[in-house]
């Protein structure tokens, strides 16, 4: 799963299982930085934002996918830099699911 938000204000998005207090995914926005190269370089501009996903899977090194019952309460929080006003902002979450027992 992954959040969706915009530069330059997006700082972090979190999604929680509100019933258990477990955090399901926590994503911090990554912006272009000098240590990655010139800030004039494509995709590393000062306010170019990259939003890493939370990757779940059964392979080694991946976090085991969450399986949640329907009805589980969810809380989604977006933290943002509101030093200045920003319009047209978004705070979405999106992803792919699988229903246990679904056929191949």
């Amino acid at each position: 799963m992954t959040p969706h938000c915009h530069a330059p204000s997006c700082i972090r998005e979190e999604i929680w299982n509100a019933d258990t207090g477990e955090i399901l995914c926590n994503v911090s926005a990554e912006y272009g930085r000098p240590e990655y190269g010139s800030l004039n370089e494509v995709f590393n501009e000062k306010d170019y934002v990259a939003i890493p996903p939370c990757i779940f899977g059964d392979q080694a090194g991946l976090q085991t996918p969450w399986t949640l019952p329907f009805g589980t309460n969810i809380t989604a929080i977006k933290y943002l830099n509101n030093t200045y006003r920003h319009l047209g902002q978004m705070a979405q979450w999106t992803g792919l699911i699988h229903y246990p027992g679904d056929a191949y």
Binding site: T2, G71, N73, I74, I77, H86, L87, M90, Q92, Y104
Partner: protein, 300 residues
């Protein structure tokens, strides 16, 4: 006259015929009944001004049968001893671009607990709705973003140069070490969904030569508000460094889950792509999305 037809229980009589007269080709029937419901199964007539939806029908046989004519109507209850408006005022708001195009502005932010938008929506924690919830406070966003629209003031139109913006899209592929059913390939392959990462949510089983499954994946998405996609981020003291927040509360059933099997009781969450925008200028974002969709179709 039948007030309600169809299967059900016959109600005990609650209506009294006050008069039944015929003048020419018109019959006038005046009925009376108490305001309060006779039983829990009867309708209680509202005691405050408002509308009552009714259906009426008439038959043309002696036996109970499907009605010959029927229609729907609304009875409007008005105060009889104080002045009142006959028509409820309604307002509709529109956005006009360069005095040439007009689009309806229809936004209904959902109340808490679903979202902060309506009551604590300006991202500062103050008791204020988000400015995007009302046309009167809307400063800009998706509602303004349409083909050939520039986010400039009317008098700035002549200042817009006739140039074409160049923007870049960055795609990241994760190569899966398996063959998907949609492509016959020998080793690494990238399958149909350009925008998706893949992972083995059902591991391969060498014992019975079952491949890892990448099928039966369904998309979900939810917004900060139940219906409003974009919002505005405000501050209590403009220019003073601050971090705001905005929150949504929902449950797994209302997260935009698609194609839920009736027998399913839970769901497993996997992964999807992320989209990267080079600025928060909304039209740039929208162009990126349109281009992304185009590329997806072009390569699928």
């Amino acid at each position: 006259m039948t007030l309600c037809a169809g299967p059900g229980d016959v109600l005990s009589p609650s209506v009294t015929v006050v008069s039944n007269t015929v003048t020419g080709s018109e019959r006038t029937v005046i009925l009376s009944r108490p305001v309060a419901a006779l039983t829990a199964d009867h309708y209680a007539i509202p005691t405050s001004p408002g509308g009552i939806n009714v259906i009426v029908a008439v038959g043309n046989t002696h036996d109970l049968a499907y009605h010959a004519h029927r229609t729907g109507a609304q009875l409007n209850l008005l105060p009889s001893k104080v002045p009142s408006c006959i028509c409820e005022p309604q307002s509709t708001t529109y956005l006009t671009y360069m005095n040439t195009t007009t689009s309806k502005f229809a936004v209904n932010c959902v109340d808490e607990p679903r979202s902060d938008m309506l009551r604590h929506g300006d991202t500062t924690g103050r008791e204020l709705p988000n400015a995007a919830c009302h046309m009167q406070t809307y400063n800009g966003g998706l509602q303004c973003c349409a083909h050939k629209n520039f986010l400039t003031d009317l008098e700035q139109d002549s200042l817009i140069p006739n140039k074409t913006d160049t923007y870049f899209l960055k795609w990241r592929f994760v190569l899966a070490t398996c063959c998907f059913s949609c492509l016959q390939c020998q080793s690494h392959c990238v399958c149909f969904a350009l925008r998706y990462y893949f992972q083995e949510y059902v591991p391969a089983n060498p014992a019975n030569n079952t491949p890892a499954s990448h099928l039966s994946l369904y998309h979900w998405v939810f917004l900060i508000d139940d219906a409003v996609n974009d919002y505005e981020e405000d501050n209590a003291h403009y220019g003073q460094a601050s971090m705001g927040r905005i929150t949504a509360h929902l449950n797994v059933d209302t997260m935009g889950i698609e194609n839920r099997p009736t027998e399913a009781t839970n769901v497993t969450f996997l992964v999807r792509d992320n989209l990267c925008f080079s600025s928060d200028w909304l039209c740039t974002a929208a162009k990126s999305l349109r281009a992304a969709n185009f590329m997806w179709h072009a390569r699928s």
